[in-house]
Symmetry: C2
Subunit: 335 residues, 2 copies
């Protein structure tokens, strides 16, 4: 082989390995996402805010991303998983409450009659919530949720509930964090319910969870200082309550928000619509559209859980990225 030939071969080899590296690198980012508009929009946004030479550069401290939980990070059908916990907790407590056998909404809840329970309306749901979530110390509640998560399975899939987190979203959390984002959960679900699993499941520590919050008080019990959860609500972290939760807990406006229902509408608006004309930071809103009845569930308009109406209608004009779970995701759940 001539020197020129050998040189050309070296160039060819270098090019090949370079192309291979690029492919591997591209493959490493969000591997469970199909190549397409949604993935491209996410990657372009992240590149834009992280490149110091970019017009859209945002310093790391201001890279705040907020994620809804139910239906966005893990599944939410046939009902919010927290409702399964509440039912289990009521069954556990029932022997001490013989009156529940006759009293609604407890009677229906103990019988697992979800339809009758829903018919009891907000008042009924609140009674169930308070009976199952209040009146215990913070530490005891944390243990109850942890124990239930260990012992319970999803009625449709037979999986532990924590195995119903979405693999592509776990990758998205990692991708954002590896690009200097601080990632928060902002959920209509109970803040302390989510805190019992957010760190091992999502890598999100308790102090980065915002959610519906009960009143609580401090007391000394046998010389031990404890927090006791009270039967009153401090924040309903849903719909217009989500930006309030963000203001209370985070204190600055996110530049990225992801949700899947009208419960996330105001969080998406608050995140993606600039404060004033001078705020030119890039902002990304993302809506998961549940379109995959085979691998997960398909629902949107009018669904009693995770209803998606106004937010889906506003998405085009607001520039929100709509993720079609059937088309955009290679897989739904972890192996």
């Amino acid at each position: 082989m001539s020197i020129i030939g050998s040189g050309l071969r070296l160039v060819a080899l270098t090019l090949t390995s370079l192309l291979w590296s690029v492919t591997v690198l591209a493959g490493e980012v969000l591997p469970s996402w199909q190549d397409g508009a949604a993935k491209n929009a996410i990657v372009a946004f992240v590149n834009n805010v992280t490149r110091e030479s970019s017009d859209g550069y945002v310093p790391p401290a201001e890279r705040i991303a907020t994620f809804d939980n139910d239906g966005t990070l893990w599944a939410e059908q046939p009902v919010y998983f927290q409702a399964f916990f509440a039912m289990a907790r009521l069954r556990e407590m029932a022997p001490e409450h013989p009156e529940w056998a006759r009293e609604e909404p407890f009677k229906s809840a103990l019988a697992g009659d979800m339809k009758a329970l829903m018919a009891s309306g907000m008042e009924g749901v609140m009674k169930i919530l308070m009976a199952s979530h209040a009146g215990v110390t913070g530490d005891a509640f944390h243990s109850e949720v942890s124990d239930w998560l260990q012992a319970s399975r999803h009625p449709d899939t037979g999986r532990p509930f924590t195995q119903m987190a979405y693999q592509p979203m776990l990758e998205l959390l990692d991708y954002l964090r590896s690009n200097g984002f601080k990632v928060f959960i902002v959920s209509g679900g109970g803040i302390d319910f989510i805190r019992a699993f957010s760190e091992p499941l999502y890598g999100i520590p308790p102090e980065q969870v915002v959610g519906t919050t009960l009143e609580a008080h401090f007391e000394m019990r046998d010389g031990v200082p404890v927090i006791v959860r009270d039967a009153g609500i401090s924040l309903i972290d849903d719909k217009a309550g989500k930006p309030v939760g963000i203001y209370r807990h985070i204190g600055r406006r996110p530049i990225f928000a992801a949700g899947n229902s009208d419960g996330d509408l105001q969080m998406l608006q608050y995140t993606t619509m600039p404060r004033d004309a001078g705020d030119t930071r890039p902002r990304l809103g993302l809506i998961l559209h549940h379109t995959d009845a085979e691998r997960e569930y398909a629902y949107d308009h009018g669904s009693h859980v995770g209803g998606l109406d106004q937010a889906l209608d506003e998405a085009p004009q607001r520039g929100w990225v709509v993720v079609d779970m059937k088309k955009d995701w290679r897989r739904i759940f972890p192996e």
Copy 2:
């Protein structure tokens, strides 16, 4: 020089440079703290929780430290600095409120008559607080506080208020962070007041500030989504409210807490008294005792601002470290 002589010289040199390194290192830790019991207790605690071989090792995620603000991170005499802001804000608003010239507590507040204002009691203070802190957007309030901090000076020292942070405490914040701690403010002061300066002054981002919190709501103003601060209180983050604020915002028990008044008593108890007999993590409670009338102020029992009674009395039995500011601090304020 013989080989042995040269070898000995090398050993001597190595020893010298080693000793020098140790001295420099020791000097670099908390340089504004006098060597003594308080500094030793802090350094021993940090070494204990950070050394993986130590019985007291605590993983970084659980190294939560909480600091009171007024009187702990910056001064609080002759009154809480937030009160100066409230007065300034009222004077700014007064032209739109001619009725305040006749109406208490506004009349006294505008005249700067602090004594008459205090006589108006909690009800009066709340009226001043709501008039000066509510009814504006979150963004507008943030700007108002920032502008005031730029323009105002402390009446006794003539310094900008941000120059009345305590140099030894700034070093302590850095020292804890460099040892993997996540540092929070937990203050009776207004959460959004503190957030206007906590990041540049203390390196504490807004999401790590807990404080007294107003109600708020979300609305669209001319197509711009905003948070509006309402005239109601969501949390009084003082005394027994501090552990509640910690539970709401942080969701786990700190292992380190610092305060200077009875407003911090329950936070110190909650932090340093283990959950149950099985919890053997090291815990440190620290009380700043204002003992230096020359360089700062001297006050404790019965002071109307930063009163320190029960917490000082409980300190010995609870093992809390009491910092004598006169003896333990080489300097008070930054140069």
